[in-house]
Symmetry: C2
Subunit: 434 residues, 2 copies
C-alpha cells in the first residue's frame, strides 16, 4: 500500500451525489422501468438536424475553422446573442430593457457548470444559500463541496413561499446571520423535483426581497430555468430575471440539455457584470471555454429554426407522457388515500407523497420497487435535515421523461404493487407508534 | 450602485490569466504576426473527417442516441479504452503491465479541467506544488486560485533538473515543510513554454523521488503530456507514467486539442484509483461529465485511423514551421550575441533569451514589437517571483503554431527590428549599471 493521499478540505467535504448510483442502475438494467434518472427521451434527439448543421459547418472553411479552434472563455459571441434574444423574446422585452447585451451572457458546460462556478465565486465555508424545500439534489451535493449551508423555504402550489422567505430573512437579520446569506436559489419552472412552478405574482417579490435584505452586501437570486421550454399548457411566465431591469440581482441560467440534446453539454447564463467578471476569471482556470464545436452546433440549430421545431416536438411528446403518468396514477392509486401527487404543467417530474411510508434509500419501498421492476428517486435526497434532525421521508420523484407511454403505464402498475407490499406494514407500524 | 458582492476567498485570489489579453489581441488584429497565443494552425483542422464521423454517428440510431444523451461523469467507456491503449502503445507496454484498465481513465473538458480538478482535490491554501522554472502560465493562475504555493526547479537541456528537485525536497524535509508538498508538476514533452523535453534518464528518477519523499503522505507527479504527439524528430520517449507500474504516483494527462482540434475540447487523464474517486466526486459537481458528442467524435476519429493520419500530417506541417522559425532566427539574430534560443524537437514553442533586455509587459520590447507588428509572450509569465523578489525578465515564448511559414519569416524579421530598437538602449543601461 502506498502512503495515503492528503486531500484538501474541499475534497473531503465532497461525496458522490446519491443520485449517481440510481442513474447507474437505470443504465445497467434496461428491463427496469426507470422513473429515477432525469434523462431525456432518446427517441427525441435531433440526430438529423445535428448531422445537417455539422455538415454545413464543415463544408464552409471559415465556419469549420471557427468551430474547431479554441473559443473564448465566455463563449461564442453569436450563440450568446442568440440565447439572449431568445430569453428576452420569451419575456416580451428587448435586451436593452433589462440592461443586457451579449457581454452579459456566458456559455457553460451545461447549466451545472454555472451552478458550480457561481458557488465558487460566492461561498466560503459556512455561507448560506436559501433554497426551496425540496430542491435539486445535485445542487445540494455541490453546495456541500463548497461548504455552504442550505436553509430552506417551504413550497406550495405557487412554488417557493415568498412570505416564508421573508420571515426567514427577517430571522436571519435578527440573529445576525444575514451577513452570511449570499444566494437565493430557485428552480422556478416545473421544478426538479416537485414539478411546481413559481407563480407570476411571487416572481417580482423574490427580487424585491433580495434587494431589501442586501443591506450588508448584495444577495443574488439564482434562477435555474433548465425546464422552462418544456411547458405543456398555459402561457409562459416571465422570468425572475425580468424583474431585475438594472441587471444587478438575478443570475439566469438554462441549458440545451433538456430542450435539445444533453450530448451537446451546452448551457448558458445571464448575469450582472461584476458577477460575470468573477465567473470568467474562474472559468478561465477551469477550462478557458466550453466545447466550441457544440456551441457552433447549438447556434446553427437556433438560427435555422430547427431548435424551435424541436422544442415544439418535445412539448407534444412529453405532454402525452405526462398525461399517461397522471392517468396511470389516478387509476392505480384511486384506492390509496395515503397517496397524492403534483400535477405539473411542464418539465419531467411528478412529486408523489405516500403518507406514512418511508420512501428513503434504507426504507422498504426502494427494495420493493426494485423487486417489482421499477425505480424512483427517494424524495429525501431533495431535502436537507432540519435543526431537529428531521428529514421528510415520504416522497418520491417520478420522472416521466425516459420511459415510453406503455412502459410508464407498466411502471406505475409495478410501483402500485410495490406500495401495496409496503403500505400495510408501514401503516401498522405507524398505528403502533401512536 | 447596488451593494457590493461579497465574494469568496477563492474568488478574491483569482485574477485573469495574463495570457488572456494577448490571445485577445491576436484574435482582434489579423495583421499582427502572433507568436504569442498557443493556438494551433487553422489550416490543419480535420473538418472533412469530423463531418464524416458525425454523419456516420447521426445515421446510426443507436450511435446517435448514445452521442446525444448524457454520458457518465467519467466519460465514454469506448474512448477511455482507446486512449488507454493509445498511451500504452506509445510506451510499448500493455495496460496490465502498468496496472491499468479503462476504469483508471477519465475524460475531461480539455486537459485544463483535469489540472483544475486535481488541484481542488489536493490543495488547501498554503500547500506546495513543485514545478519547472519556467512553467505553463495558465497553470500558475490556476494554482493561485487554489491558494497553492509554487516552488520551482531549474531546467537544462534535459528538462527539469532532478538533482535540483532532490535538493529542494531535502531542504523542505529539513525545514519541516515536506508535509505541505502535494504535487510535482511537469510538462515533460516539448514543454510549454521552453520547448525542452525531460530526458529518458530523468523520467524514472522523478517517480523515485516522489516515492522516496512520500513519508508523511503520498506526493503525486502530474505529467502534462499535452504536446507528446507533436514530435518532429527522434524516437518517442517513455512517459513518466511508464515508471509507475503499480499506478500509485503518477497522473498522466493529455488532450485532443493540440494533436487534433481544440474545438472538441476533449482531454483525458490516467490516474491511481483513489485519486480517480476524488476527481470524479468533484467532476460530478462541476458538470457530471464533459461533452458527450465530442467524445463520440474523438472515439470514431481514433477508431477509423483518421486521428493517426491527422497527427502525421500535423507533424510534417509543424516540423516545417519550426524549421522556418529556427532558420529565420539564425539569419536575423546572427549579429546579436545577446540572443539565444532553444531548439525543440516537438511542440509549438521556441524559448528565446535576450540577455539584458526587459521582455516583460511593462518593458520596452513588448511595445516595440507591437509597433513592428509582432507579438510574443513575455517569459516572466512562466516564472514565479523568488524569495528575494526577483523574476527572470529576459525571455520570450515564441509560438510557431499559428502563423504561416511566410508570416513566420516576416514575424521574425519584425521582431529583429523591435529588438534592434531596444537593444542598444538596454545595453547602454546595463553598461552604466556595471
Amino acid at each position: 500500500m502506498p502512503p495515503q493521499l492528503r486531500r484538501s478540505e474541499k475534497s473531503l467535504r465532497t461525496t458522490d451525489s446519491p443520485i449517481t448510483a440510481y442513474v447507474q442502475k437505470a443504465l445497467e438494467n434496461p428491463a427496469l422501468v426507470s422513473f429515477a434518472a432525469g434523462l431525456v427521451d432518446e427517441d427525441t434527439f435531433p440526430a438529423a438536424d445535428v448531422a445537417a448543421v455539422v455538415a454545413e459547418i464543415m463544408a464552409d472553411p471559415r465556419a469549420s475553422r471557427a468551430a474547431l479552434q479554441y473559443g473564448s472563455t465566455q463563449g461564442d459571441p453569436k450563440l450568446r446573442k442568440l440565447v439572449l434574444d431568445h430569453v428576452c423574446a420569451a419575456d416580451g422585452v428587448s435586451p436593452a430593457e433589462l440592461s443586457l447585451t451579449p457581454a452579459d451572457v456566458c456559455i457553460t458546460t451545461g447549466s451545472q457548470q454555472l451552478l458550480y462556478i457561481l458557488g465558487e465565486v460566492l461561498f466560503d465555508p459556512g455561507d448560506i444559500v436559501i433554497a426551496e424545500a425540496p430542491s435539486y439534489f445535485v445542487y445540494h451535493s455541490l453546495l456541500q463541496s463548497h461548504g455552504a449551508r442550505v436553509l430552506t423555504v417551504p413550497m406550495d402550489e405557487d412554488g417557493m413561499r415568498t412570505d416564508a422567505l421573508e420571515a426567514l430573512l427577517e430571522d436571519l437579520k435578527r440573529s445576525g446571520d444575514l451577513g452570511r446569506v449570499k444566494l437565493i436559489y430557485t428552480v422556478d419552472y416545473f421544478q426538479n423535483p416537485t414539478g411546481l412552478t413559481l407563480s407570476a405574482g411571487r416572481r417580482p417579490k423574490l427580487v424585491e426581497l433580495a434587494k431589501r435584505y442586501s443591506t450588508d452586501h448584495r444577495i443574488l437570486v439564482l434562477e435555474d430555468a433548465a425546464y422552462r421550454e418544456l411547458r405543456y399548457e398555459g402561457p409562459d411566465l416571465p422570468s425572475v430575471k425580468r424583474s431585475d431591469p438594472t441587471n444587478e440581482y438575478v443570475v439566469y441560467t438554462s441549458t440545451f440539455s433538456k430542450p435539445c440534446a444533453p450530448g451537446l453539454k451546452t448551457g448558458y447564463a445571464i448575469m450582472p457584470p461584476d458577477v460575470m467578471a468573477a465567473v470568467l476569471h474562474l472559468k478561465g482556470s477551469h477550462d478557458f471555454g466550453s466545447g466550441n464545436l457544440a456551441q457552433h452546433v447549438a447556434a446553427r440549430l437556433m438560427e435555422s429554426g430547427a431548435y424551435a421545431r424541436h422544442v415544439a416536438k418535445l412539448q407534444a411528446m412529453y405532454r402525452a407522457k405526462r398525461d399517461v403518468m397522471l392517468a396511470a396514477l389516478e387509476k392505480e392509486f384511486a384506492d390509496v388515500p395515503a397517496a397524492s401527487w403534483t400535477v405539473p404543467v411542464g418539465g419531467l417530474y411528478v412529486w408523489l407523497t405516500l403518507d406514512g411510508v418511508d420512501t428513503g434509500p434504507r426504507g422498504p419501498l426502494v427494495a420493493a420497487a426494485l423487486d417489482a421492476g421499477v425505480m424512483y428517486v427517494p424524495g429525501e435526497f431533495g431535502h436537507v435535515t432540519d435543526a431537529s434532525g428531521d428529514l421528510p421521508r415520504s416522497h418520491c420523484r417520478m420522472c416521466f421523461g425516459t420511459a415510453s407511454p406503455d412502459m410508464i403505464r407498466e411502471g406505475v402498475a409495478r410501483f402500485r404493487r410495490a406500495v401495496g407490499a409496503v403500505l400495510p406494514r408501514e401503516t401498522r407500524r405507524l398505528a403502533a407508534a401512536r
